[in-house]
């Protein structure tokens, strides 16, 4: 079986959309996640509560329900954006909760004594974050963040359900022409595995780069 060039191009476009959504949502969710974590460990009680509520909400609500709510329902209330930005924003706010959880557990890995020692030396909150807490927790969170990014790449497939023409959706429509579902879906699965592998290998590389040899 030979795939015609047009259909092959459709598949490549789909892959491009998947990668674009994954990269933008990945960067965005890390930025939002850092912000939420800052609010969650900071001294302002209101922000701590709000950040906790944010994380709990998105960790306990299905992504597909949020996508459908944002794409099909919210336009009725006048929240209208093009499809791909809408899906990307939903992915950002959803995965940011998982990033925030990973970051918080990273902060918790820094030994209490280290933070107390920093305070005893007279470091301010910003100084102890800058020189003691963030450098150490960053090393501990590389792997968990990588896992969140892999989950995000898998979750971009759900965009197909709300009509984004990304890889899964393109595979689905091209399959209608050739009627070779097993071949097509298995190959698409291999592409997703390759994406996950790239993320996994690069987080492994970063982790080795920043590791402290004690």
């Amino acid at each position: 079986m030979i795939i015609s060039p047009e259909n092959f191009q459709l598949l490549l476009q789909g892959l491009g959309t998947t990668i674009m959504i994954a990269v933008i949502a990945g960067i965005g969710s890390i930025l939002v996640g850092v912000f939420v974590t800052t609010a969650r460990v900071g001294p302002i009680p209101v922000l701590r509560g709000a950040a906790f509520a944010y994380v709990q909400f998105f960790i306990n609500v299905p992504l597909l329900a949020l996508l459908i709510l944002a794409v099909f329902a919210l336009p009725a209330a006048g929240f209208i954006l093009p499809l791909v930005p809408t899906v990307t924003i939903v992915l950002i706010v959803y995965e940011a909760a998982y990033v925030a959880e990973a970051l918080r557990s990273g902060v918790n890995t820094v030994a209490k004594g280290e933070i107390e020692a920093a305070r005893a030396l007279g470091l301010t909150l910003v100084q102890s974050l800058r020189h003691v807490i963030v450098p150490q927790s960053f090393r501990a969170v590389v792997q968990p963040i990588g896992n969140v990014m892999i989950a995000l790449a898998m979750n971009t497939a759900l965009a197909a359900v709300v009509g984004v023409l990304e890889l899964t959706s393109r595979v689905n429509s091209v399959n209608l022409v050739y009627a070779q579902p097993i071949l097509f879906y298995t190959s698409a699965g291999l592409v997703y595995m390759a994406i996950a592998l790239v993320i996994g290998v690069s987080t492994g590389w970063v982790e080795r780069k920043v590791a402290i040899v004690r």
Binding site: A76, V107, Y192
Partner: protein, 284 residues
């Protein structure tokens, strides 16, 4: 409480107060804007939300919730049993078993469940295999969740102090006895919170029933919108039901995590005979 910063002094307290007031104002502003936006499009009108005061509507949705819990239960049982065996296989000394289980876990963890569901929907009928709609949803979920359960169980087994299995082996237990009577029971108790969190995640994944047209909560919600023609209230109510159900499970999981491990004799006092089986759990 947090120990990142000192007890705030008078200036610190003033800054915290200013920060609190500003953030309350910002949050209230965002909420007010959103409500205004909803209101100006008539989404806050009582008649829009009125259907959700009727028991019939709730009954319709709760039937969907029962379907959700049913699939989630099936996937949890099958997935965790298969997961335990995959974990044992990945830790096996017999190379082919180890390779097979490792390959299965790595594949199943990195393929979107949606693709597997499409494979079930369009691929298997081509081979002449047709399964009931429940299994079109459950089989892909079991496939991917068993791999995640396997990794959790493996982490639990590996984090157990080595002395436990060494002690069991030195007492003359076979390696199977060691695994099933000594290592696994302790490992499973330690990983209970992670297992529960994974259950929440698979409960969320059952929303894929929306695609295979299985009677679960999100699919029921979609059917309801075509009857009520009120998308916003319906999907908000659906989202909140998910929030309540998985939120309470998450709360249990974090309570389990915070609960002190089984009491054991303090390691500094060798005279008090420790209760044998559980002492290692305390060390972990």
């Amino acid at each position: 409480m947090s120990f990142i910063y000192d007890q705030p002094g008078p200036r610190g307290r003033r800054n915290i107060l200013i920060g609190s007031v500003l953030s309350v104002m910002a949050i209230a502003g965002v909420v007010a804007l959103a409500l205004w936006q909803f209101g100006s499009h008539g989404q806050l009108a009582p008649e829009v939300w009125a259907p959700f005061t009727q028991w019939a509507i709730w009954k319709y949705l709760l039937t969907g919730l029962v379907g959700t819990l049913e699939v989630a239960g099936i996937v949890a049982v099958l997935g965790s049993v298969i997961g335990v065996f995959l974990a044992l296989g990945r830790l096996s000394h017999f190379r082919p078993t180890r390779w097979f289980c490792t390959a299965y876990i790595e594949v199943a963890r990195t393929v979107p469940v949606l693709l597997l569901i499409y494979l079930m929907l369009f691929g298997l009928p081509q081979l002449g295999i047709n399964v009931p709609v429940l299994w079109k949803l459950a089989i892909p979920l079991v496939f991917s969740n068993s791999a995640v359960f396997a990794e959790i169980v493996r982490a639990g087994i590996k984090s157990l102090p080595k002395g436990q299995s060494e002690a069991a082996l030195s007492l003359g237990m076979s390696s199977w006895q060691t695994m099933f009577h000594v290592v696994l029971p302790q490992a499973l108790r330690n990983i209970a919170p992670s297992l529960l969190s994974q259950f929440v995640s698979l409960l969320k994944d059952t929303t894929l029933g929306y695609i295979v047209a299985f009677t679960e909560l999100l699919y029921r919600g979609q059917l309801l919108t075509s009857y009520l023609h009120q998308l916003i209230p319906t999907y908000i109510v659906i989202t909140l039901i998910y929030l309540v159900v998985s939120g309470s499970l998450t709360a249990i999981a974090s309570r389990l995590q915070r609960r002190p491990r089984r009491k054991a004799a303090p390691p500094t006092d060798p005279l008090k005979a420790p209760t044998m089986g559980h002492s290692a759990a305390a060390i972990h």
